[in-house]
């Protein structure tokens, strides 16, 4: 049994088929990269898995149980956390309070939530920023906060939505290190990323989509060499 299975999942917004007949699996323990040009429907897939939207058709299974149609907070309690591409910090709370708020997913006690939050912020290497208001963080740290918050919910599967976008090279290296550390602690990861160097270096497998449909799946090398993938990114030559 795979950790996460999408079977024939579609999402229609009025006349627009944002995701069509999507089928793929995320195996326990892997890092699966989800790539595709802008507007291909990657974030929509996250929103479907996370419960933000119900799918129009198809089923989504997590740890053997159906999760399609469940609310995000229920999905979170089942052990599936996500970060947002457009970061959503709780601006008027400190970094530590932000992470504590999500740690309450696993405990009702304030002290315990604080422990979890201290641990998660340390894991995301942002100890120095704990007492700062989240609204005043630079972008790199906001992206880091997204990860710390998701970690504090103690997920088995973590969905990372473009956590590398807008980072400088040093921050990119640091974030790769953190993602690998998260993976090393036993968390399965599904990641959306445009930075090809990053995605090729950390993913075990890739799924490439375009116009809401899967066009390739497999080892990173093979997917990168796939003609359809190249066409999707670079356009078809009319020679």
């Amino acid at each position: 049994m795979s950790l996460l299975e999408l079977d024939n999942v579609s999402k229609r917004f009025g006349g627009l088929m944002a995701v069509g007949k999507m089928t793929f699996k995320v195996e326990k323990g892997e890092i699966l990269g989800l790539i595709g040009p802008n507007g291909a429907g990657k974030t929509t897939i996250f929103n479907l898995v996370n419960g933000y939207y119900p799918p129009t058709t198809g089923t989504i299974t997590f740890k053997g149980g159906r999760i399609d149609g469940l609310k995000p907070h229920v999905v979170c309690h089942k052990g599936l956390a996500r970060t947002f591409q457009v970061v959503k910090p709780l601006a008027r709370l400190t970094v530590l309070e932000n992470v504590m708020a999500s740690a309450f997913c696993r405990t009702d006690r304030r002290e315990e939530a604080r422990e979890i939050a201290l641990e998660a912020t340390a894991f995301a290497e942002m100890e120095e920023w704990r007492d700062r208001l989240a609204g005043g963080l630079p972008l790199g740290m906001r992206k880091r906060l997204e990860m710390a918050r998701a970690l504090a919910t103690r997920p088995e599967l973590l969905l990372l939505d473009e956590n590398f976008a807008g980072l400088n090279p040093a921050e990119v290296e640091k974030t790769i290190e953190i993602v690998k550390k998260i993976h090393g602690s036993g968390v399965t990861i599904l990641i959306i990323e445009h930075n090809m160097r990053v995605i090729m270096s950390i993913s075990h497998r890739l799924v490439c989509i375009n116009y809401g449909e899967k066009i390739a799946e497999g080892e990173p090398r093979d997917v990168a060499d796939n003609q359809q993938v190249i066409d999707a990114y670079l356009g078809v030559a009319h020679a």
Binding site: H73, C76, R92, A113
Partner: protein, 319 residues
């Protein structure tokens, strides 16, 4: 116990001992009204300030609390039952709140704010027209149980203090963190495990309960209610918002400061200028919103936090 707790307890003890020293009914009346507004401000602040769900119609809950007590009195039960109305008034307000919250909190945006405004108006019209139950526009008259104002003083002081302690404890718990995260970003809260519909409802229930208790106390103390007074948009619903904003929304001390200022300003105008207290209070609010948008307490604590941050930055730079 830290220093702050000791200071607050000492302050409360002093306040409790006050009527033993001063029996002037006018002074006691002003303090009673101040405590009543502290209670109302705290109640609104929990939902509007901390949870970010702006209510334009808390008079609905105030009025339901007041009329619950009023109807108990009118039905000819002994005067003591009026006090049982305190708890019952709060519970009735929470019951009404649970219905409106259950319907509206599934939606986002201004639906709740507007629905509760409409609710207060609907309830006012019901109170005007359902004459057998409410005496209609004539209102309900009741001879207050105690001659001495000191008893009312102690009762409302105790209720306001209780509300303060409860809300402080709530805000330090999981509930408080969830309320704040709903205010800051509902999508983020939802995906981090917060059942936003349910927690908004919890916040509303606590808020409506204390507002209903306040309404019930009002009936007990002043001995007269009519629909125009207790379901008033300007004197109750909007004033609850203004008192909170003036002192500082989403701060524990804000509604206290706001209530003290409100009573002082309106008394000053009533006694010395004879009229116009609402106009002046309105001007004061405009001034506060323009220059201190976080309210008085909010602005003070912000500048304090800023100083602390600068000081620690300087220490780091020096080291």
């Amino acid at each position: 116990m830290n220093r702050k707790t000791i200071l607050v307890s000492a302050g409360l003890l002093l306040l409790a001992a006050f009527p033993l020293a001063v029996q002037n009914p006018y002074v006691l009346h002003l303090l009673i009204m101040t405590f009543l507004w502290v209670l109302l401000g705290q109640a609104w602040n929990l939902l509007g300030g901390f949870t970010g769900q702006i209510s334009y119609g808390h008079a609905a809950f105030f009025g339901v609390g007041a009329y619950t007590t009023g109807i108990l009195v009118k039905s000819g039960l002994s005067p003591a039952t009026a006090w049982s109305g305190l708890l019952l008034g709060g519970l009735m307000a929470a019951l009404i709140a649970s219905v409106i919250g259950w319907i509206c909190f599934r939606l986002r945006g201004p639906y709740f704010s507007l629905s509760v405004l409409a609710l207060a108006e609907v309830l006012r019209l019901v109170a005007v027209n359902w004459k057998q139950l409410t005496n209609g526009a004539e209102g309900i008259l009741y001879i207050p149980a105690f001659r001495s104002k000191a008893y009312y003083y102690w009762i409302i002081l105790a209720i306001a203090a209780l509300a303060f302690v409860v809300i402080r404890a709530v805000m330090r718990s999981k509930f408080g963190f969830y309320f704040l995260s709903i205010r800051e970003d509902q999508d983020a809260a939802e995906s981090l495990g917060v059942n936003t519909t349910r927690y908004k409802l919890y916040s509303l229930l606590i808020s409506a309960f204390f507002t209903g208790v306040a309404g019930s106390f009002y009936m007990n103390y002043l001995g007269f209610i009519d629909p125009g007074i207790v379901f008033s948009i300007s004197d109750i619903s909007i004033m609850m918002i203004l008192v909170t904003m003036l002192g500082g929304a989403a701060t524990l001390a804000g509604p206290i400061v706001g209530a003290v200022l409100y009573i002082l300003v309106s008394e000053f105008f009533r006694v010395w200028v004879k009229s116009g207290h609402l106009i002046f209070f309105g001007i004061l609010i405009i001034f506060i919103i323009i220059f201190f948008p976080s309210g008085i307490v909010g602005t003070i604590s912000q500048s304090r936090a800023g100083r602390k941050l600068r000081a620690s930055a300087e220490r780091k730079a020096a080291a």
